[in-house]
């Protein structure tokens, strides 16, 4: 029984991280129909900045804030420089461009901070089962996700963002600055992604540290339905807990296979994810 509780709690904190990174993918996917493969690299750069700021100032929280601000700005810059010119290009173009950015940013991180791992601090004590750090991870994601969902649902900005995502042409016709909304969306998503990165990075930081988390976050987003933020959060938590059981009861080496099996099983029944809308034909 205790094993079961332990595994559930352990899965909850990693699931929260998948959910947060998945959420950042969904915000972007909804708005621009692009899966942002550069997301782990954006989060990586912010984590490295947190590392440097924390090292320079001695304050974890200064690094934390710097990372989120920097991540948001990076998202904005990426949308303006790379994604916007590709607006009318095919789906594959955006995939390749964000993959290229992933390679570039990981390499740049390695050039600046070296490929060797550095120790990266937890926010709080990380020892024991469901440590303060785990609790912080879950709470931080809950706060961020709630914030994003409330923003979408109840603010004028959120309404503009949703209108842009669902029907950009109509959004323009009612006076929404669609371009600006896309930029805001990318900034918002990259900010959430940076938070996920900060939570997922410890104990060590190195250029490919977030790759694995990203794969599970994408799995979570696909599970939940790529255009459904709430579904993705549920998907992330379910995946985190499910993989924690697999790892604890069957062996850690099976985790990637289990993720694949869960994904295949869900997509076989629901090709647009658990909570996704049936994809309308886009002409």
């Amino acid at each position: 029984m205790t094993t079961f509780v332990n595994l559930t709690l352990g899965g909850l904190s990693s699931g929260a991280v998948y959910a947060a990174l998945g959420l950042s993918l969904v915000i972007i996917y909804r708005a621009t129909r692009v899966v942002n493969f550069a997301q782990p690299a954006l989060a990586l750069i912010s984590s490295y900045l947190a590392y440097s700021v924390t090292k320079g100032t001695g304050s974890y929280w200064l690094g934390f804030v710097a990372a989120i601000v920097a991540g948001t700005l990076l998202g904005v810059v990426v949308e303006r420089l790379i994604i916007r010119p590709l607006r009318h290009a095919g789906e594959l173009s955006a995939i390749i461009a964000t993959l290229g950015l992933l390679l570039l940013l990981q390499a740049v991180a390695g050039m600046i901070w070296s490929n060797e791992p550095h120790a990266f601090a937890y926010a709080f004590d990380f020892r024991g089962r469901f440590s303060p750090s785990d609790l912080f991870a879950v709470l931080a994601v809950v706060v961020a996700a709630t914030g994003v969902l409330l923003l979408f649902k109840f603010t004028p900005l959120g309404l503009r963002l949703r209108a842009t995502a669902f029907n950009p042409e109509v959004a323009k016709l009612v006076g929404v600055r669609v371009g600006a909304m896309l930029t805001v969306g990318w900034g918002l998503a990259a900010g959430v992604g940076s938070l996920a990165g900060l939570l997922a990075t410890p104990p060590f930081i190195f250029p490919t540290v977030l790759d694995e988390v990203f794969v599970y976050a994408l799995t979570a987003a696909v599970l939940g339905g790529l255009d459904n933020p709430l579904g993705t959060i549920v998907g992330g938590l379910v995946l985190g807990i499910g993989l924690s059981y697999v790892s604890g009861l069957l062996g850690a080496e099976l985790v990637p296979l289990a993720a694949l099996a869960i994904l295949v099983a869900v997509l076989a029944v629901r090709p647009s994810g658990l909570f996704g809308r049936a994809t309308a034909r886009r002409v």
């Binding site: 503009r160 016709l173 009612v174």
Partner: protein, 235 residues
Amino acid sequence: MLEINGVTAAYGLVRALSEVTLTVEEGSITAILGANGAGKTTLLRTISGLVRASAGTITAFGEDITALPTDRIARLGVAHVPEGGGVIPELTVEENLRLGALWRTDRADRAAAMGEVLELFPPLAPRRTKAAGTLSGGERQMLAIGRGLMGRPRLLLLDEPSLGLAPMVSAKIMGVLRSLRADTGLTVLLVEQNARSALSISDRGFVLALGRVVAADSADALLADDQLRHAYLGF
């Protein structure tokens, strides 16, 4: 109010509008008529900036809007209700309406506009919190026009508001337009295939054929011109 001067527009190599010139008087209802593919929708899309004119100028409220982005044109007070309404089915009825007034800074007036629209289209009021996707065709069209009115536009562009609607519903919508013009002095540019019903509420009409204006006259004169009716309007 709205002056279109020698406007030409094309999709790729296909020319959809050829040197179209027309004027819409303030406080009038003007009908754009013509067969399918005559360029009516393109004309509206060119006015609201969704399609770029390759030649000619468009002036609204004394300002050259030919090259302005669509959202700027909307914020000048041009409300374009596209073909089919362009209601966003994932949003609630109320959110769709609020969307129409988001750009206006006067909060109190936005609430007032909501009240007026719901009064104008009573079927919408009890469905405020429902997803717009659950509405019937007629209700959707009301919602679309209501959203256009939320911004208190000076010029309303309507693309086939009666398309696919039962005659009674479409008559109701035409009635609303007529009373709006009478009460608020709203200027309407109305694209319709159903020429008879459009002309019944219009002051003037323009007939498009293959992207050119082939006739321009008062609504009564157009209704009386048998030859024109047979040739272009099909009734």
